[in-house]
Amino acid sequence: NSAAPPGPAADSATPAKAAAKPTVAYVTNGIASFWVIGAKGAEAAGREFGVNVEVRMPPKGVGDQKRMVQELLTQGIDGIAISPIDPDNQTDILNEAAAHSKLITQDSDAPHSNRLCYVGMDNYNAGRMCGQLVKEALGEAGGSVMLFVGRLEQLNARLRRQGLIDELMGREPDNTRYDAPGAEIKGEKYVVLDTRTDQFDFGKAKSLAQDAIARYPDLGCMVGLFAYNPPKCLEAIREAGKQGKIKLVAFDEDNDTLQGILDGDVFGTVVQNPYQYGYESVRILAGLARGDQSVLPQGGFMDISARKITKDNAAEFWQDLKRLTEPGGK
């Protein structure tokens, strides 16, 4: 890298700091209720392991994320857990953070950076799980599938989508494959009709679902890849009176999604464990801040794997979730 910036906290190695409570940061890739759960986990770990936790949610993409990281470095933060939005192109700010603080990635990895470890799951595999749910939902007869997502540029969205497509097409796992959206993808039994993006406009998310129902009267299954998508699809399906006719497979644990599963209108969902992301990230950072390297997981990867939730285990899962996130929980 060209002009190496001087250490942000170079002149602030205050001796008193070692004694004080370390401060670590939990940086998300945007604002969402998913991250609110993550923040709860982070804060819980903060209390448990005696560190201050600062949560940062960049409202508008990479630029804001970069600025927030810079500002954390300015503060002389002791550790950062980040969900990089575009890992390949963010290497320099990530390395800058790694150089002046302890950096780990969570939710989404940046393998080419100097991060110490990654806490999260494999989005591609989660996508394949989601594909399995679609297969179960549509059954042997197969059918057509419509995908909905906020933005396709985000790595997690692309990997989920690709995993799902590969699963439906019965391909070998390969997370570098990419089917460009816009064209139908036909397999033996399943057809992925299209992927529609809404730029996080929730009104639009719903009207996209409506338009899909209008366009494909015999649509087999809808999949919402971001947390807010499935409830919007569910709304549209219910209003069209197509419950059961159009299957709905979800991602993440929005309340409406879980309720939909219990009601039988959502076939199932693939959940990550944001609470655990937050909790584990802060636990690791707290250890690192105190100079304890043993907290680092083997191979630099802590797998907090995704789970399939269907009618069978939804109630139990929801109970657990509420216990963790609601005041008076864990």
Binding site: A32, R196, A214, R215, E235, D263
Partner: protein
Amino acid sequence: MKKTLGILGLLIAVCVSTAALSPNFLKAYNVENITTWTSLFGILSIGVAFVIMTGGIDLSIGSVVGLTGCLLPWLLVQKHVDPVSSIALVMLVSLAIGLLHGFLITKMRLQPFVVTLCGLLFYRGFARWFTGDETQGFGNGFAGLRYLAVGRVPIPFVSGWHLPVPFLIMATIAVAAAIFLNQTIYGRYLLALGRNEQAARYSGIHTDRMIMLAYLICSLLAGLGGILFSLEINSIQPSGHGDFYELYAIAAAVLGGCSLRGGEGSILGVVIGAAVMRVLYNAINLLGIPTQLEFAIIGMVILAGVIFDELVKRLAARRRTVASPAQATPPAAF
């Protein structure tokens, strides 16, 4: 009326060509959906049209939609306030917002753009703060209330077709607004002061009060729109819900014949303007055009529409000049 013809032509053109290309376009289900969305955006657009007519602007609409959209489910679900009081409270908040804007613009003489830009930032931040960024929603409850947004009223004698309730709400508002604008003195005052505030003031009009009123109407309708949007969408993310809606509302108003210089506007035109935007979105999805191109197409169609409108106007003006010599000679001056 004449000004409305251009945009009406555009609407018809878009509808006819979509219907020709996609058999699903004219199905009851689709038409009802378009009508619902048009109505929701139409309510916002009618509100902002009043502000635009005074020569002002309101950029805070999207954030007000976000704020009221979060507030209603928060009151109902988290605070267990009863529906009537909740709605009253939410409308009161919108009212206060409108008053605040009006006050800052007329009494403090601040620029509307600045005031409402600060509003845009502030209401969004406030919504995020009191919800703690957590998604708000009605879950499966409040079906009665949600009927306001998702309800459908059967059309007598036409089986299979329904009128969405939001359409009825919007139509009522539009009719009231049109009467207010064209038939009452207040509408005339708004138009007069939008063009020449001093002339209006010298004519004994309380221009400040009228401007206040315009911002009040705008915020109230944004608040109402916010309520309906939240009932329609059901789950609301405080950080993003309503983002950009002010631009859609303003675009619809301008498409519908409002001039941002003030003093001009037609309610019917504004509603048609809102419809054009919604039909375009729908057409893009029905025709299977890649979502990436969505914005590009909408931008182009709107631009083509206004250019066409302008050319037609010029042609008409030229024709009038050429055609009039005969009638230009007044019967006899003396």
